[in-house]
Amino acid sequence: MAGAACALYASRAGLDVTVVDRGPVAGGTTGAGEGNLLVSDKEPGPELELALLSGRLWAELAAEPGLGAAFEYEPKGGIVVASTPEGLTALADFAAGQRAAGVEAVSVGPGQLRELEPYLTPDTAGGVLYPQDAQVMPTLAAAHLLRASGARLLTGWNVIDVPRGADGAVRGVRTDRGEIHAPTVVNAAGTWGGEIAALAGARLPVLPRRGFVLVTEPLPRRVRHKVYAADYVADVASDSAALQTSPVVEGTAAGPVLIGASRERVGFDRSFSLPAVRALAAGATRLFPFLEDVRAMRTYLGFRPYMPDHLPAIGPDPRVPGLVHACGHEGAGIGLATGTGQLIAQVLSGKVPELDLAPFRPDRFAPAEEDA
């Protein structure tokens, strides 16, 4: 997704773009995502600024003829639910900080919550409505942004080296199917971004953080917003490797309800985990009791590109001229893709990026931090 957005904005900035992927379109984490465009789960700071920029850009893309419908853009808003009065107080403080940073956050009482979400458990202390939260279908979004970019698309081409000239600058990429020459290489390899960086001789500590998603049978619209429990924000910000789950429930345009979100650091282990999906089911049925009798049809997993400080790597790598990073967005890669693509395009066309890239510097990690 990040690569598709970079391709789109770079092409529109007048650059000649080739997109190389060892797999198919959206074959990595994008195809395993829920398509969240969220501001609600972000505390004030650089990531929230990027999310606000990205949200505006997503809305602009969605307004382009044909495009928004093609990737199922839904500006449906998010609701964060607190189950206890203490939780609600913490949530209200969090929302107040976000409001100061430009986020729309509307406090809602338990009764109002049930008006917004009629099937929600009555057992809540209250919550916050975030009208700016939205959703897209991530694979469709990646495919349609790539098509709209007009970039050359080389799927099934595996990058095996990033050759550099005598001056240390990258000269393109070498793949198993031939070499592609370019003065600039954008590393949008997501969870595998550390490997591409290593091929170019740079260290980038991207780690996989596994997540499962449950998909239910098709239903009429019963979950209207993206609804999640307030402890989700704490899980996202956590550094623990152990399994964490907090329910995130949302309906989709196609009918099924999607249930996230589990987080655990287990490397690239693709095996099914009953404890993880069991916890997802338990959390979702607590939020929406009607889901008890609704059937899960399937489950899938993906690996979020996790960085030790939870911020992506965006911008030129000072250690390797010509190498530019756009990866490490953890679970927010779909949402943050448009802003990332815009910033990368601005950098590549010699403009001043509209956000300060200092917090996203790819060389910000001291080697010792990498094992954090």
């Binding site: 198919p24 790539l146 099934g156 008890e292 609704v294 059937r295």
Partner: protein, 470 residues
């Protein structure tokens, strides 16, 4: 006494599962046989519902004596307490944990209440289901799978109409056509796409199994007796009707496997039983992390998967019919019995079954080549032919995902079009989607072998399993 025996869970009570159950139980293993049907037998020996009072169920079956032997053996072991047969148990997941395995099932046709079985080892004898390749009109009511027509006939003694065409490819079409004819349905045509020259080319390989050839000859005689017209090297190009099937158009194939222009003819019928071979059920094996080769579970000479404690036998390990399933099940049962007692098995004890397995596998590999769908079958799928029946995704949408959006594999097509995301989870359209893309068919990952209520999932592992404590 039985509580001290090691405990095996067998998933599936068809020929493979029954053979394994009997072999393991005879050799000191306590077996819980878990099956979704109300009666043992699987698809091949599917029994009429007891309440129908069928006094001559063998009229619908072949190899009835083998069935009687399996049925009586099962009954004896049940009486001795060495085998527990759990009917109406639909397994959605087999979980491996430090204490062994837990089989997670849903009860009855409603599939809302859970049941769990804990065991020291598992045999997956999950069988197969039918592959059907789409053509215009295949979603019309009255178009059923060949195996489905047979299953409905065997289990419920019912048929969907008065005049049927049986079409597609594969050895299953013969018993389906003769079965329907015997049950009073007028079979207007048997339409088989295989090229007769392929039979001649492989006649030596086929003649190695004279019993199978005799079986084929018997079917041919029955078809003649019922005056069933047989059209070899023909296919159904379209099913006609508005709200239900009224007719089909069949046409001849040329040497390259294209439809020969001008050969189409219309045949009136209210039922089309169609099938293009079988596919293994591999979901439970995949959930356990077992190696899958292509579309089948990989096993060694003892029918072991690459996951310790998990064996597989029958169609799940590759399509080969009931006789092969019996041989594989027997070998698996013997291997399990030895290994669960900590003994190295002695393969000479099952030498006969091993020989039968070798011969039948070779025979079915030859049949697979003969009964391969025609090379250009995907040409029949027009842009407005529904390919994914559940999500109503057309051939045109799939082609657009490939040519317009850069998809080159089944998973990406699924994500872009929703083909394979519906209730059946791609079991019905997977082959067709792979064929349209032009990529080899692979087994899709389905961690849940069937849909499971979220309430059950949330409490999975907490259901008491009294039968496991003996």
């Amino acid at each position: 006494m039985t509580a001290e025996r090691p405990h095996l869970a067998v998933i599936g009570a068809g020929p493979a599962g029954l053979a394994a159950t009997l072999a393991a139980a005879r050799h000191g293993v306590r077996v819980t046989l878990v099956d979704s049907a109300p009666e043992a037998g699987g698809q091949f020996y599917r029994q009429p519902a007891r309440e129908l009072g069928a006094r001559r169920p063998e009229a619908l079956h072949h190899e009835w004596r083998t069935w009687e032997r399996l049925r009586d053996g099962l009954r004896t072991h049940q009486q001795q307490g060495t085998v527990t047969h759990l009917t109406d148990h639909h397994v959605w997941l087999v979980e491996q944990h430090s204490g062994g395995f837990t089989v997670h099932a849903l009860l009855g046709p409603e599939q809302t209440e859970p049941a769990e079985v804990r065991a020291d080892a598992v045999l997956l004898a999950t069988g197969g289901y039918e592959k059907v390749l789409p053509f215009p009109g295949w979603t019309l009511p009255g178009v059923v799978t060949a195996g489905g027509a047979q299953a409905m006939l065997k289990a419920t003694l019912s048929v969907s109409g008065r005049t049927a065409v049986v079409a597609g490819t594969g050895p299953l079409l013969l018993p389906v056509a003769t079965g329907l004819a015997a049950a009073g349905v007028r079979v207007a045509a048997l339409v088989e796409s295989a090229d007769p020259r392929d039979f001649v080319r492989r006649s030596r390989a086929l003649s190695a199994q004279p019993a199978k050839l005799a079986e084929g000859a018997r079917y041919a005689a029955q078809l003649a007796r019922h005056r069933v017209r047989t059209l070899i090297h023909h296919i159904v190009v379209e099913a006609h009707g508005t709200d239900r099937l009224e007719a089909v158009t069949v046409a001849a194939l040329d040497g390259a496997g294209h439809v020969r222009p001008g050969t189409g003819r219309r045949i009136a019928c209210d039922t089309l039983a169609v099938g293009h071979g079988m596919l293994p059920h591999t979901d439970l094996a995949q959930g356990l992390g077992c190696r899958i080769d292509g579309v089948a579970v990989h096993v060694d000479d003892e029918q072991r998967t690459d996951v310790p404690g998990v064996w597989a036998a029958g169609e799940a390990t590759g399509i080969g019919g009931a006789a092969l399933s019996l041989a594989e099940g027997h070998i698996a049962g013997r291997s399990i019995a030895a290994r669960l007692r900590g003994v190295e098995p002695e393969p000479h004890g099952w030498a006969g079954a091993a020989r039968a397995r070798t011969g039948l596998r070779r025979f079915f590999a030859t049949l697979d080549e003969i009964y391969a769908p025609p090379a250009h079958w995907a040409e029949q799928i027009t842009d407005d032919t529904v390919v994914c029946r559940c999500e109503e995704v057309t051939g045109g949408a799939i082609r657009e995902a490939v040519t317009g959006l850069g998809a080159g594999d089944q998973r990406t097509v699924k994500l872009l079009t929703r083909a394979g995301m519906g209730w059946c989870q791609g079991r019905m359209c997977g082959s067709a989607v792979a064929g349209l893309i032009g990529c080899p068919e692979t087994a899709a990952r389905r961690p849940f072998a069937r849909p499971v209520p979220l309430g059950v999932l949330a409490r999975a592992g907490e259901t008491p399993a009294p039968e496991a404590e003996g």
